[in-house]
């Protein structure tokens, strides 16, 4: 496993691997996310209690789950970068952070828009909402720390330390609905045994989650490629690649 993975720590190999994965990821993301959204928004039965406004679940829940999933991915990359001193991993931290920040913002925004008709308020200082807001601040902190270093090598390491320190918040968000009994409802699909949601509503939701995960992965990889190019501008392989592109264009 290690022998198989190790070549990808080199930036050029990582760049090529991303190039090979990207078309597959983006095409399947568009197809699955498209299918899930259309199924969920147009064809799934409406809720007996909430009517059609429950359909925002097909955007809210996937983005909320992935806002945490993306943070874990970023923290794992940070851990790899700090422990084994792999430069490409710290670049991945910088590439992933804005994706997670956008997902967190979408989750907060759709949550507010869903909360208005259901709970009669845009925002409450409920445990889950507050901890999700902290997650947004953590992403912004990682991004700001990375940006404020002129030496990106140093900045990547510093952002990695910050990302790891923030991991403390993940269990707090996940268990917030169980520890504090506040306005936000409990988990519906992630509990063991039978999920408390009808299967014809569940399937499009699962498709949306998978599709958004693929889309986040694709966007992260694309950003990772750009980050690699930007950081390795002076390297011969980037120059060769640029010349190759140029001759293709002409």
């Amino acid at each position: 496993m290690w022998k198989w993975l190790h070549p990808y720590a080199k930036s050029e190999q990582a760049f090529r691997l991303c190039g090979r994965l990207l078309p597959w990821l983006s095409i399947s993301a568009v197809l699955i996310l498209g299918a899930g959204t259309v199924w969920g928004l147009a064809f799934a039965p409406s809720d007996y209690q909430q009517g059609d406004s429950f359909r925002i679940i097909y955007i809210h829940v996937p983005s909320a789950i992935l806002s945490m999933g993306v943070y874990s991915a970023m923290a794992i990359a940070a851990f790899i970068g700090l422990v084994w001193q792999i430069r490409t991993a710290t670049m991945a931290v910088a590439a992933i952070a804005p994706v997670g920040a956008v997902l967190t913002f979408i989750a907060l925004f759709t949550g507010a828009a869903w909360g208005k008709p259901m709970w009669g308020t845009w925002w409450v200082w409920d445990a889950r909402l507050t901890s999700e807001l902290i997650l947004l601040f953590l992403y912004l902190g990682v991004m700001a720390l990375y940006q404020s270093f002129d030496d990106k090598q140093q900045g990547g390491k510093a952002a990695g330390v910050m990302a790891l320190v923030g991991v403390v918040n993940l269990p707090i968000i996940h268990y917030s609905v169980e520890w504090w009994n506040t306005l936000h409802q409990g988990a519906t699909i992630t509990k063991f045994g039978k999920p408390s949601i009808a299967p014809e509503m569940l399937w499009p939701l699962l498709l949306c989650i998978l599709g958004l995960a693929l889309a986040s992965a694709a966007i992260s990889l694309y950003r990772f490629q750009s980050e690699l190019m930007r950081r390795e501008m002076h390297r011969p392989w980037v120059k060769a690649l640029a010349e190759q592109e140029h001759t293709h264009a002409v």
Partner: protein, 222 residues
Amino acid sequence: MSRPWQALLSRELALAFRQKSELLQPLIFFVLVISLFPLGVGPGPQMLQKIGPGVIWVAVLLSSLLGMERLFREDFNDGWLEQMTLSPVPLSLVVLIKVLSHWLTCVLPLLIISPLLALFLNLTADMYQALLITLLLGTPLLSLVGATGVALTTGLQRGGVLLSLLLLPLFIPLLIFATSAVDAAALQLSYNGQLAIIGALLLLALGLTPFATAYALKVTQG
């Protein structure tokens, strides 16, 4: 190992007491922020009692941030920190001593002055007792976690706002548990659970942050 430990601590304390004006700054800021609240929200004793614990805790967070910014900066600028990195004393021990002296010189005065504030904000004896215990358990946690954030921004020219962006989100869980303990005390309820969580966080921070801070200091020195 006891001698470098003592030498470091006495150096830090001597440095702190030679800069008396900087020593007083967080304290004055703390009293000022708290005395603004009765003017801002109205001097009703009921109201002040209700918001008191939260106000004191937020003021502690902000004024400890104020003093923390200087934790490593001067030592970084004059090269002392680099010498410490090269010396046989483990850097995490240096960090721990610096955090301890920061807590003794910047945070302990806040705790000593807190009975006065409890009087200002009309806290009952039970509430004050809970507040003092949460402050005693919680402020070392602030200094430990804060040191990691300060170490990450030490090499930067403009660290101020960035430091608050990095640290305040991490302090929110502590704020929630501490104020909920004081609220429970106001209702004559037991608040051992909240204290246990704060204590657990403190132990976790005590075990991990000196190493994270030492690593962050090595990163900022390149």
